[in-house]
């Protein structure tokens, strides 16, 4: 099962809506609360990265029997130094965005914290692609 949403840069009115729909759908189809929360947070951070930094993009998930794959692809300025962007506290969010409560420098670190696997690929002047994997709890272990 795949869910995919279009995200528009700087549209703070709709921002967070895609992640909310993703999380609600996961709960509706019976995914456990903890997994739905982790997927929601990763999708939210990915969506907000597009809203804050990019021109447009898509956020989506693929729900598989043993895991949820989250993907986010944008057309935007890209990230010149991914290692730096992964550092807690580092942010390039402009001042007007910081006033809205963003720019903690925790976007990518949060995605890493809540996912089991995270890959970030970026091309400066073109855009950024993010792939995250969240494993579903095993029946025996949950």
């Amino acid at each position: 099962m795949r869910l995919e949403y279009h995200v528009v840069g700087r549209d703070f009115q709709a921002a967070g809506g895609a992640a909310a729909k993703i999380k609600r759908t996961l709960r509706q189809i019976g995914i456990d609360a903890e997994t739905a929360r982790r997927v929601g947070i990763v999708a939210y951070e990915a969506e907000m990265n597009i809203v804050i930094h990019a021109y447009r993009g898509t956020v989506g998930i693929d729900i598989l029997p043993e895991r949820v794959n989250i993907y986010a692809d944008d057309e935007g300025p890209g990230i010149s130094d991914i290692a730096l962007a992964m550092q807690v506290g580092y942010s390039t969010a402009p001042e007007d965005i910081r006033e809205m409560g963003f720019g903690a420098g925790l976007g990518l670190p949060n995605m890493k914290r809540y996912s089991d696997e995270l890959e970030v690929e970026s091309q400066v002047g073109s855009g950024t692609s993010i792939r995250a994997v969240i494993n579903l709890p095993t029946k025996e272990g949950s």
């Binding site: 929360r37 947070i41 939210y44 951070e45």
Partner: protein, 127 residues
């Protein structure tokens, strides 16, 4: 403690979710940045914040927070109240500043993330 205790201790005005004041709150967090909130909160927690933004409500939905308390006498805008109503998320506002609000609740027995046993082993590398 229950959400109604939070409202009483902070002399808070409950704006949405009056029917949910018997919900149990297990820990609290004070923050004014969205990503901090996503990093350092879990379900059954409340967040005290001076940030009045619809994104606070969106983020609260992501982590299944029990409620949001706006501090320093800040009042959420109608769109924030509408979104909270839609999501069934209780929100309240208090005239106390963030530091005093947190102190009052902590003194009354509401722990922070680190002192909340259930949080141990939750998100990786909690501060």
């Amino acid at each position: 403690m229950q959400l109604r205790d939070v409202a009483r201790i902070l002399e808070a005005e409950v704006l949405t979710g009056e029917d949910k004041l018997d919900l149990t709150v297990e820990a609290g967090c004070g923050c004014d940045l969205i990503s901090d909130m996503l990093a350092f909160t879990k379900e059954r927690m409340i967040v005290l914040t001076g940030l009045v933004s619809p994104q606070i409500i969106r983020a609260a939905e992501m982590v299944d927070l029990v409620a949001i308390v706006f501090v320093r006498g800040k009042r959420p805008t109608p769109d924030i109240i509408e979104l909270s109503n839609e999501l069934g998320l209780p929100i309240m506002c208090t005239h106390y500043p963030l530091y005093e609000s947190a102190g009052l609740l902590f003194t009354a027995g509401l722990p922070g993330w680190r002192h909340w046993p259930r949080a141990v082993g939750g998100a990786k590398d909690a501060p």
